[in-house]
């Protein structure tokens, strides 16, 4: 199965997460990594599966590389019926009200256009001392195994 991994990032953490996931999945699947800032929303492919990774910036805002993607979803309004994705949010629960909000903004926009989120919502919490980069890889593998 083809798996597209899209990331929205401010300081590059989401890109590393995308690479970690791709490396882990590549033995069994064809993977493709793309920055949301380079993604044309008209090319979102209903025949492949998407893993979305998005961080949160400032007071619950989208990171800069996710902003054009989000704006294009709102303005172009592609019909995403049948489009399937999983969502992984990177955030810090010390920001009580806005924790992982960036990913939720993308998630809500995709859902509103008819897309279907698959599996457990992944979250990486920078304030959780036990969390490592492995978390995203483990999460992605369990998502993909259960598609």
């Amino acid at each position: 199965m083809k798996i597209n991994i899209l990331f929205g990032t401010e300081s590059g953490g989401g890109e590393l997460t995308a690479e970690d996931i791709a490396q882990s999945l590549s033995a069994l699947h064809e993977t493709n990594i793309q920055n949301m800032s380079d993604t044309d929303v008209k090319t979102l492919d209903k025949d492949s599966f998407y893993i979305m990774i998005c961080s949160t910036y400032g007071e619950g805002e989208l990171p800069y590389s996710a902003q054009p993607f989000y704006k294009a979803l709102l303005s172009d309004k592609p019909d995403l019926t049948g489009f399937r994705y999983a969502m992984f949010g990177r955030g810090d629960s010390a920001y009580l009200k806005t924790y992982s909000r960036g990913s939720e903004i993308i998630d809500e926009a995709l859902s509103a256009l008819g897309a279907t989120r698959i599996g457990e919502y992944g979250r990486h919490d920078a304030s959780d001392m036990s969390v490592t980069d492995e978390l995203a890889v483990t999460w992605a593998n369990s998502i993909v195994e259960n598609i």
């Binding site: 300081s11 590059g12 890109e15 590393l16 590389s65 010390a94 920001y95 009580l96």
Partner: protein, 400 residues
């Protein structure tokens, strides 16, 4: 059972939150010399000064976890009796504890030079920042003593507000102590292009004026006109209250590898005041005055405390931190990972020093840090590079 946290800034707050999130149900009291609830300090030299943030924007949101924590604001600790687990406060109260968190931070070092006291200011607290903000008007002649983070950030902000800015410092170039000469010289060049005047290799010998400073005399005899002098010449740990307990208080509180003050069970030091060895960088005990390290040490210290109080059964791991900071100076955003002060060589790894770049800091060819000027989207990658380099270095040492 009660835990006493002395110091109510970022580190004290995060320690309280961590104690609660790890299940500590006993009483927690935070004693803070400041009269405000905990607030975020980095904007004091930037967003607050140029008016983008108001003081209320800086207040930390309080987690419901710490809703029942008792706060004693505007009160400082005056003495500790470690044997009797007792802290005396400036309001005459005496508090006892089972667990103690030392989070008293630092205060600004002051210039010892003759002359009027009026017109000499520092920047450490919200009150300091509000006072400074009220004076930074177009045309104000501001002399900043010291060219570190605070000095350079305020220089940039003050130019933005239309002030005339002279920076006076003993170092050869701006930001030399935190960043070294190569990057520091480039940062200075950028500030100069924004109109900041630097007077390096000198200090202020004397202030002149009637009741209020009007002129400063530099140690080389030159004179600068000044309406206001901002002293940013480093900090002094707030440890006076810890005296007479056989603790090593030379430059902060010397901690063991679990952040216990002097190895004392049930007593930890966190934040700017804590001095500890950092095995990730083979660093001797040092204080690390970074925002993120205040959080990291608070989390770590809270766990040690819970362990010591018999509340957590996990075996403790020695502390190991990846120091990290950022600094916004005009159009230049810098960030850094590691312990740059350990380096004896610097090398541009990517980009151009005059533009956006990544600079590696090496000690005997082993990476000890990295500074990014711009290149924000690369910061996670360089952080991982540094972590991996250190891990490989330590693995190699173990093998040899």
């Amino acid at each position: 059972m009660s835990i006493l946290i002395i110091g109510g800034s970022l580190s004290g707050l995060r320690a309280a939150e961590r104690l609660r999130s790890e299940g500590w149900a006993g009483a927690i009291t935070v004693v803070s010399a400041e009269s405000q609830m905990p607030y975020n300090r980095p904007p004091l030299s930037k967003e607050l000064l140029w008016g983008e943030d108001s003081p209320s924007d800086l207040e930390f949101e309080l987690s419901p976890l710490v809703a029942d924590v008792q706060w004693k604001l505007g009160v400082s600790a005056t003495a500790l009796n470690l044997d009797e687990k007792r802290v005396e406060l400036s309001n005459g109260e005496t508090l006892t504890y089972e667990g103690l968190v030392i989070a008293t931070g630092v205060k600004s070092r002051r210039l010892n030079a003759p002359g009027p006291q009026g017109g000499r200011v520092i920047l450490r607290t919200l009150d300091d920042a509000v006072t400074l903000k009220d004076q930074l008007k177009p045309g104000l002649k501001l002399v900043i003593l010291g060219a570190g983070f605070i000095g350079c950030e305020v220089a940039s902000t003050a130019r933005k507000l239309g002030c005339e800015v002279d920076v006076v410092a003993m170092d050869e170039v701006a930001m030399q102590i935190p960043l070294g000469k190569m990057v520091g010289a480039e940062i200075q060049r950028r500030h100069e292009s924004e109109g900041v005047r630097f007077h390096m290799g000198v200090s202020i010998a004397e202030l002149q004026g009637e009741g209020k400073v009007q002129e400063v005399v530099l140690t080389d005899g030159r004179k600068l006109q000044a309406d206001l002098v901002l002293e940013t010449i480093g900090s002094i740990p707030n440890t006076e209250w810890l005296a007479n307990n056989n603790l090593d208080l030379s430059n902060g509180v010397l901690c063991d590898e679990y952040l216990r003050a002097g190895g004392t069970t049930g007593v930890v030091a966190v934040g700017d005041v804590a001095r500890f060895a950092n095995p990730l960088f083979d660093a001797p005990p040092l204080r690390i005055e970074h925002w993120q390290t205040a959080i990291d040490t608070a989390n770590f210290g809270a766990r040690t405390l819970l362990h010591d109080l018999g509340h957590a059964s996990d075996e403790l791991k020695p502390i190991s931190v990846m120091p990290w900071f950022w600094s916004d100076q005009g159009e230049t955003r810098m960030s850094s990972f590691g312990m740059l002060g350990l380096a004896n060589r610097q090398e541009v790894l990517e980009g151009e020093l005059s533009g956006e770049c990544a600079v590696g800091y090496f000690r005997e060819d082993v990476p000890v840090g990295v500074v990014l000027v711009g290149l924000k989207e690369k910061s996670a990658r360089y952080k991982r590079w540094l972590q991996k380099s250190r891990d490989e270095y330590h693995a190699g040492q173990g093998a040899s």
